[in-house]
Amino acid sequence: MEDINHVTCIPLWDCLLVPLNGDVSDAQADALMTEVLERIQRDECFGVLVDLSGVWTLDSHLCSVLAQLSLAAKMMGARTVLSGMKPEIAMTLEAMGIELRGIQTVATLEDALGAMGIRRVREASEDRDSRAVRQLLLGSVDEKQER
């Protein structure tokens, strides 16, 4: 049976994507720290992307764990970026005077990937379509020639 405190770590090229969801327990926060640091060493990760879009509440303890994680990851040569913090959570942390110093935070996961130097490169759809048409036509020409 899967451990209830299991933390999902998704390898993404040379980075690690860690989506946090729901009500993060203290046990899960501890597991997060251990799991991510082990994966940084094992998979030789260069960056850690912690996505908070699914997190319900961020209290001072979880902030402290994220700050410790960021610092420990940095010592191991990996950069940590937090993304997807909800406005109401950001406002609550601000009201409590929590600054998350030393951790880079960005609005979206896309921004986090960008911060790691990962960018989207999409082939122009026109090129793709014309190539597909050309393949079809050439295919049909080849078939006729074979006959």
Partner: protein
């Protein structure tokens, strides 16, 4: 019926009870249609005071009550000691806990609309109030 009998109670012994306390806080917010930032403040403050009980005391409980007359949620976190010896230092923002932030009690004070704390060797009692709805604030517990 006394107020205590109407309270929802969540016993806090260890840090694993915190999820339960936060769940009750969310449900209480839902009950009075409190959403977004206002609900987030309630849940976060509950998490902070409940953690203080789990980490520093010999156990206790968090109680939730909706005061419909005054349009406020009242949360009482009470433990069985040993009390907070450096309360002034904590509330002045000069204290840093072993986890580094030391913002738990101070943070819950900053989030609540009213905050009251009584501490002694027998235990600590923290009372927090959060307004909801548009009704003007009539009472203060401090």
């Amino acid at each position: 019926m006394s107020d205590d009998q109407e309270d929802l109670r969540v016993p806090i012994e260890t840090e694993s009870d915190l999820n339960h306390a936060r769940m009750f806080a969310r449900e209480t917010c839902k009950l009075v249609a409190l959403r977004g930032y206002k609900a987030q403040k309630v849940v976060t403050a509950v998490s902070e005071v409940a953690r203080n009980i789990a980490r520093y005391s010999h156990g206790g409980e968090v109680r939730f009550r909706v005061d419909a007359d005054n349009h406020c949620i009242i949360i009482v976190a009470e433990d069985r000691g040993p009390g907070i010896s450096n309360l002034d230092e904590i509330l002045a923002g000069h204290y840093q806990s072993r986890t580094g932030l030391g913002r738990g009690l101070l943070g819950s004070r900053d989030l609540a609309d009213s905050f009251d704390i009584q501490t002694g060797a027998e235990g600590t009692r923290v009372e927090l109030s959060f307004r909801y709805g548009d009704k003007a604030w009539k009472t203060s517990t401090t």
